[in-house]
Structure formats: structure tokens, C-alpha cells
């Protein structure tokens, strides 16, 4: 089992650190004293890497992502992207939210075009619409371009959200349980589409998920968090499957079950939620 655990130093990568989470802690002051959500988190993500963060509810996964996206600041330590310290949100770290966060009064196309306008204010409106349409084409939604979000299904909304995020070519794509609200068929379809898009764009992805299978299919490394309070990184598992990946091929590979059982053991035996934690 020990061979599965990737040591930061032992991993041979021909790249410089891209996104660095450097000894980060997050403490919220409360009336009963300080409450530590995250403690001593260090993680280095390389350019073009796909990293999944997995852990039980309330372990501070979202807090960790919010510090990368810039919505919250670490109490201790810092997060750096290309050696620059992250202090606030920006379009270089585009977020795909679980609840889509599309503006309901704008069409799918205009939602994407708004993002393009914010990053390239110098472009003409027709250029922006053209670029937005190209992004929608990437997620197979050209037919629904003129529709308002409420006319779209959950899966389609999340496609628009992904198209919006990628339309501005972010350095890091941050996904916070993007498929959590979708049914299983739509979820699998979108996983494969995300895999394809990531392959083509070579964008660096940081993604929160609850699903071990999803993490194994998509990511290069799986970061497993211990339980809160004062959660930290328990283990980092390398996912060795070659790219491009196909669901059927991976699920038939014996290593799939080794990784899967290892992760299940981590989440449900070593760091299981005790009965008192659940409520």
C-alpha cells in the first residue's frame, strides 16, 4: 500500500511549481475562542495537472478552494500562483460553482460573453459573441445559446458554466463539486466531456468531489483530507493511468480497485465520521 502514497519529493516531474499552497492554516475567531478549520496545508500543483480534493463534509475542502480562488484569505501561510501571492478573486482562477451561478436575466451566450468582456474589454461585441459561441460549441450547446438559464436542464447549465470558465482561458480552473447536483447519467457524460476538454486545453484543474470513482477517472493525484476541525492533508494518492482515459478501460484495470479500496479505507475506516460528528 505504501507505494501508492506519493511523496512530494519522490515524484519526478519536469516542471516548476505552478500553484503552491504553502503551509496554510485557516482560523475563525468565535465567541468560544478560535476555531481552526484547516491546519498546516501544503500542496504543490504543477502546470496542466488535474488534482482532486476529497474528504468528508465539513473538512474544509471548500475553505481550501476559496483560498485558492481568493474569496477568503489564509490566517497563516500563503497561496501562490506562478510565484505571485493570491489576495483576491480574479479571472486567472476561474471558478465553476456547484449551483452554476449563471445570471438568469442573460442568455447562455451572453453569460459567456460577459466573462469574455471582463477579461478582454477591448474586443468588439461581435467578436465576443463569436468567442462565446466557440466556447458553447466546445460543450455542445450551440443550439441552446439563445436560451435563458431557466430553460436549461441542470446538466446544460453546468456546461454553460464550464464554457464560461474556459472561455477566458484561466490559468487554474477551480471546480467545487461541479456535478454534485446532477443525476448519474448526466454526471458521467459531463465527466467525460470535462476530461476531453481538459485534454485539449491543458488547463490546470483543482476540483472538489465526494465521488472516489470520479476522482480516479479524472485526476492525476487525489488529495485526501482528514476530518475537521483542524483538518489537514491526510494523504496524496497518485493515479497512474495513462491518458487519454476511458471509463471502461479504467474500471477493468486491477489498479483501479487497489486505489479505490485504499481511498475507501482512508475515508471510512481511518478517518470515518464518528456518530457524533454526523449531526
Amino acid at each position: 500500500m505504501q507505494t501508492l502514497v506519493a511523496n512530494e519529493l519522490s515524484v519526478n516531474r519536469n516542471a516548476n511549481p505552478y500553484l503552491v499552497i504553502d503551509n496554510v492554516s485557516k482560523v475563525y475567531p468565535t465567541a468560544k475562542g478560535d476555531y481552526t478549520v484547516l491546519e498546516n496545508i501544503s500542496l504543490t500543483v504543477y502546470e496542466g495537472e488535474f488534482v482532486c480534493v476529497i474528504g468528508h463534509s465539513g473538512c474544509g475542502k471548500s475553505t481550501l478552494l476559496n483560498m485558492v480562488s481568493g474569496f477568503t484569505k489564509p490566517t497563516l501561510g500563503e497561496v501562490r500562483l506562478e510565484s505571485k501571492v493570491i489576495t483576491k478573486p480574479g479571472p486567472d482562477r476561474m471558478v465553476v460553482f456547484q449551483n452554476y451561478s449563471l445570471l438568469p436575466w442573460l442568455s447562455a451566450l451572453d453569460n459567456v460573453a460577459l466573462a469574455i468582456k471582463s477579461v478582454h474589454p477591448e474586443t468588439s461585441k461581435s467578436d465576443r459573441l463569436e468567442m462565446a459561441m466557440a466556447s458553447l460549441e466546445m460543450v455542445g450547446l450551440t443550439d441552446a445559446a439563445k436560451k435563458k438559464p431557466k430553460q436549461l436542464s441542470g446538466g446544460m447549465k453546468q456546461r454553460v458554466s464550464i464554457a464560461r470558465a474556459l472561455s477566458i482561458r484561466p490559468k487554474v480552473l477551480i471546480l467545487d463539486e461541479p456535478f454534485g447536483a446532477l443525476d448519474i447519467l448526466t454526471r458521467e457524460e459531463l465527466q467525460e466531456e470535462l476530461l476531453k476538454i481538459w485534454q485539449e486545453h491543458k488547463v490546470t484543474v483543482l476540483m472538489i468531489t465526494h465521488e472516489i470513482d470520479e476522482a480516479i477517472l479524472l485526476s492525476d493525484r487525489i488529495v485526501m483530507m482528514t476530518n475537521g476541525p483542524a483538518a489537514t492533508i491526510g494523504e496524496i494518492v497518485d493515479v497512474p493511468f495513462a491518458r487519454p482515459r476511458y471509463r471502461e478501460a479504467i474500471t477493468e484495470d486491477p489498479r483501479f480497485f487497489t486505489i479505490r479500496n485504499h481511498a475507501l479505507d482512508f475515508l471510512y475506516n481511518r478517518f470515518a465520521l464518528s456518530a457524533t460528528d454526523e449531526h
Binding site: K88, P89, R93, S101, W105, L114, S118, K148, P149, K150
Partner: protein, 289 residues
Amino acid sequence: MTSTNIRKKSFVSLVSEWGQGQLKFILPPVLALGSLLFIWQILCGGEAPPLPPPTKVVSEAWNLIVNPFFDNGGTDKGLGRHIIESLRRVGVGYSGSVVIGIGLGILIGTNVIMYRAFDPIFQVLRTVPPLAWLPISSAIFESFKGSPVLKFMGTDAVELSAIFVIFITSVWPVLMNTAVGVQQVPQDYRNVAKVLRLSRTEYFFTILIPSAAPYIFTGLRIAIGLSWLAIVAAEMLKGGVGIGFFIWDSYNSGKYSEMIVALFYVGIVGLLLDKLVYYVSVFTVQSDA
């Protein structure tokens, strides 16, 4: 032969089906109105009743009912002309409410300290009824009597104070609903604005205003009702042409039938104004899924 018979029958049955379908919507209000008029007729049927019964209202005010736009000069005009004059005043006062209410509402809604400072004051002021604003309004605008600025604007102090009563009655719901709507911009949309680093103007027009629009329209709809309510109070002061003054004048000269007909006009116009703002909001606002 048989086929045309069947077609005829089915056409007739279609019409009667439609009639029966509509009947359950038409019949109850007609019956309710009929019984109310009947009760009124009975109650006011005796000798020297306090108000004329419906039959007498119709016979006495027949000229007003059938000729809404006659003009004999002075204040002797058809009710349609009185209504138009009142609508003009409401239009001016209500426009002021819309502009100032939305403007101040956005200012207060986006600034927590301003909101804390002014919200309690507005909460008190909004409960002051139109009639109570009348003396204050008169006092303020009497000091402007004969001012050359007013002459230049083609208006007089009394007219302005009437419009001010309409404005001050209807501005509060616009202001407070706008402030709340601006405060209620969902965190999701704010997050999108933060990630995209939208400029202030971009945020204002693409996120703040559309997101607050349903709240603003709720305020506008309450306000149009209130400003129409205020017209009677405002025109009691003003005199001259206008449906509010007409009612007051009819009461003073004992023409109760005319007063009652005018009341119906006020009610129907108020309903139409409410529906107008409602349909504008339906066409404008794109609500969330």
C-alpha cells in the same frame, strides 16, 4: 346531410361548452354585484335616505355617465376630463417617486451605515397617511407663493404642494423595496462579479439592477396604488379640475349621486393603473429559475 348536421351540432355544442366554461367565472361576480346593489337599493329605498339608491344615482347622474368628456368651461367638465387632470398630477408625483425612490434606495441599499442611519426614519415616515402630509406640504409651498421660479415653471404653489403630497405618499415603498432588493443580490452573483472583476458600472447594470428589479417593481406597484389614493387628499387642497376635488365638491354641494359615480371612476382607474404597472413588470423582469 348527416355530416353537416353533425358539424352543426358540434359547432353549437362547442359554443355552449365555451359558454359553460366561462360561466363559472362570469356568474359569481355578476351575482355578487347584483346582490350588493339590491341590498343598497333596499337600505336606501326609504324616504330621505342618507345616500341615494342605485336607481336614483343612475337617473340623477345620467349626463355624467354617458358624457365623460363634455366641457362647459371652469370646473363644469366631464369625469373623463377630471380623471385626465388627476392622472397628470399623479404622473408627475409618481415619476418623482420613481426617480428619487430608486436613486435613494440604491444609495441606502449599497451602504450599510446609510441604511442603519435612515431606515428607522423611513419606517416612521412611510406610515404617515396622505391627509397628514397635506398641512405640512401647504406650509412648505405657501412660502413660495408668487415666486418667479414657479411662474417660470408654469405652475403655482398650490399645484406643487398637491403634487408633493402624491410624491411623499408614494416614495417610501419604492425607496424601501429598492434598498432591500439591492441588499438581497444573491452571493452567487456577487461571487461571479468578484471572479470576473467586473467594473462598478458593469456590476451596477448587469448584476445589481436586474437582480433588484423584482423588488423594485413590487415597490412601484404599491406606490402607484398609494399615489392614486393620495389624489383625493391632494386635490381637496388644490381645487379646480380633478377627480379628487370633484368628489369633495359634490359632497359639499350635496350632489351625492355625482359623488358616487366619481367614486366608481376612481376605483376603475386605480385598478387599471395597478394592472398597467403589473404588466410592465411581467414584460421587464426575468426572474430566476
